[in-house]
């Protein structure tokens, strides 16, 4: 292959931010496919359009997903990327790696594909970017042998994802890394064999900061919280005060419920326990002095997704507080999620995310039928309209007037 010019892309090697163009060029040294990718991309930059076609169904034996089929639109011009599929490899919890594992990933990818990756895909997978159809099964075989498995694609449970959690964060209210690992293993069938109306995602965040963006990006969002009261270390408060940290203006004045008060004289903080919404703001600002309560667990929210079809939805609370215990093998969570999926599977239309199904059929119906207790925490506020679907079984169905005559 003769070296072709990429003047437009070259512009994107300038500047301080690391350049993906440089990366493609590095891969192009070893991979003819990557070299052609560079060419087709330069053309996209000239023409301001993409050059990829819809994927046909490509995959591996025994699974229904994990690979995104992709074909260039001019296979004659670009024979090396005529097929240029991506393989989704399920990442380890919290994106933790040792270099040995990483090198294995690289070596296998050098053997089979373009040498280009996304670390990581937006859902969380290790994305192996670009390979031929014939390589897919061997790729899977080799990675499998090295201890990896494929991630999700299609109408299945997608690759789960979690924040760094107890691995490195003092805020984690449950073990996000273990939850993600354990629960993913529980739902292998759901992950690898699409069977639902559409995709379903789970993201695990250890606290209300939601560092996985679960509430916006997952159908089932598991956000760590506590049931009791924040704990305040008054000595540490005094230290913050001594360091002239603006406790009143930055912490108390911005507490959304005004339940946290600072006594300038005693240099102590006080909280009105029942007014605290556990928003995590004060803890974020004074991690040395304030910590979560002792009774830890997670809030389970359901329905998050992006734009298509009914516009973007955020997840909303279905279970305000659930224990997320390694000891119990996360049983309560697993049971609940099974009921939720079952309901969606029975009621959802094709390509309808669970949030949309709930919206279409009613939150009340969903909660009732999925056997989830109904509590005011599930809504910001009650209904404004009086259009209640009264449970007819609770009513007098005699069909008579007060004097007993038929209506």
């Amino acid at each position: 292959m003769t070296e072709k010019k990429t003047p437009l892309l070259d512009e994107l090697e300038k500047g301080k931010w690391p350049s993906f163009v440089t990366e493609i060029k590095r891969a192009a040294v070893k991979s003819a496919a990557s070299a052609e990718l560079l060419q087709v991309l330069e053309r996209s930059y000239e023409e301001r359009r993409g050059h990829w076609k819809h994927g046909g169904i490509v995959g591996v034996r025994g699974y229904g997903g994990g690979v995104i089929g992709r074909y260039v639109d001019e296979p004659e011009t670009y024979p090396n990327i005529a097929e240029f599929h991506t393989v989704r490899i399920n990442q380890p919890s919290g994106f933790f790696y040792n270099t040995k594992t990483l090198r294995t990933i690289c070596d296998l990818w050098e053997k089979h594909g373009s040498g280009l990756t996304n670390m990581h895909g937006s859902t969380g997978d290790i994305i192996l970017l670009g390979c031929k159809t014939e390589h897919i099964q061997p790729i899977f075989d080799d990675y499998s042998e090295a201890g990896f498995d494929l991630g999700g694609s299609g109408s299945c449970l997608r690759t789960t994802n979690c924040c760094v959690g107890p691995g490195r964060c003092e805020y984690a209210c449950y073990d996000t890394l273990e939850a993600c690992y354990n629960i993913t293993n529980e739902f292998m069938d759901e992950l690898h064999r699409p069977m639902w109306p559409y995709k379903s995602k789970i993201k695990f965040s250890g606290c209300a900061n939601d560092c996985t963006g679960a509430i916006a990006r997952s159908d089932i969002s598991v956000i760590g919280t506590w049931r009791d009261t924040i704990r305040i270390d008054q000595d540490a408060v005094k230290e913050y005060a001594a360091n002239k940290f603006p406790i009143q203006s930055q912490v108390c004045d911005k507490c959304p419920t005004g339940c946290l008060t600072y006594n300038n004289e005693t240099q102590e903080l006080a909280v009105i326990a029942e007014d605290c919404t556990r928003c995590h703001h004060c803890i974020n600002l004074m991690p040395k002095a304030i910590q979560a309560g002792k009774e830890k667990g997670a809030t389970i929210l359901v329905g998050g997704k992006s734009t298509i079809v009914q516009s973007a939805f955020m997840s909303s609370v279905v279970i305000p507080f659930m224990k997320m215990d390694v000891e119990d093998d996360f049983e309560e969570f697993k049971d609940t999620v099974r009921r939720i999926w079952e309901w969606w599977d029975e009621n959802g239309k094709t390509r309808e995310r669970i949030g949309e199904t709930i919206f279409r059929l009613g939150m009340g119906k969903f909660l009732r039928e999925a056997e989830i207790p109904i509590v005011p925490q599930q809504v910001f506020r009650p209904r404004a309209n009086p259009y209640v679907f009264w449970a007819q079984e609770d009513l007098d169905k005699s069909g008579t007037a007060l004097d007993g005559t038929a209506l």
Partner: protein
Amino acid sequence: MAAKLDQGPPNYKEMLPPIILDNYGKWKYHEIPRSGVLKHVSESGAALFSVRVATPRLVSIDFIRDVCALADEFCDGFLRWTTRNNIEFLLSDEAKVNPLIETLVAKGFAVGGTGAAISNIIHTQGWVHCHTPATDASGVVKAVMDDLYEYFESMKLPAKLKMGLACCLNMCGSTHCSDIGIVGVHRTPPRIDHDKIRKGTEIPSLVASCPTGAIRPDPKNKSVVVNEEKCMYCGNCYTMSPAMEIYDARNDGIAILIGGKVSNARSAPSFSRMVIPFLPNNAPRWPEVTEAIRAILELWIANADKGERLGEWVERIGWERFFALSGLPFSDMLIDDYIFARETFRTGAAFKY
């Protein structure tokens, strides 16, 4: 050898450095000694240092190998990626932190992204690999981050700034709840290839895919028709069928949405809102986009309270005030007309000018 089915991801425990295994779940507090460095202190007193380094996300295996070499040298071979595509080198030895950073800087790595900074932009495939993009992903991110680099390597913003980019309305980049969202938009209706439809499209699914009901079956023609009045160019029909080609270089481009967030701190999570409906796809460096984003950013820096996320600031001053301050034109394109539009209408007589 045949693959093992359903073995699941590798066990994260094998990936944890000894200091984490020892202090798992026992972290007490953290500090940010300098931009790009997190110091987490355990109940045991042990301290873990994480050095955060930008990546272009789309990386070659050689890049990963380079990074591995550094991790071996400074971190006993342990590192992680963040949920925002940065690398974090994990050091248990404080003495190695500065040497690592010096090495990184010397090699041209970008250290930063912690605290009140712009971190990496969550983004997507764009022209590199997807079939529906209205713009490129990696290129726009590169242009924007080059421009805003100073805010990555410092911590001088009013608060964290989280950006997302999606190359089409599928919004794989999760731009719908970002402080600043960059979204590729098509603006002309799909072009129907009736032959292709006849060959392999499931017409009912295609019809159902349209959010506004713009697609009707055309049984006589064994195809479909698009009511162009109703089409808002989302491209969802193209996702369903390659017969509905929608790219259009002269009209595709970028919309800017701002003010979303997902954390629960202080205020509830919120959607990003469109403030610039369209900017042209001026590849390779999208100057209109980088300028527009910088202008919004600088307005926020100049006006927000300390600790106030972009959306929190705009909500406090009011969106009408934001438009006045920013000088951005307001038009009917920015007024919602989809199914939840009603809740965005100003049902009140109190507002600013």
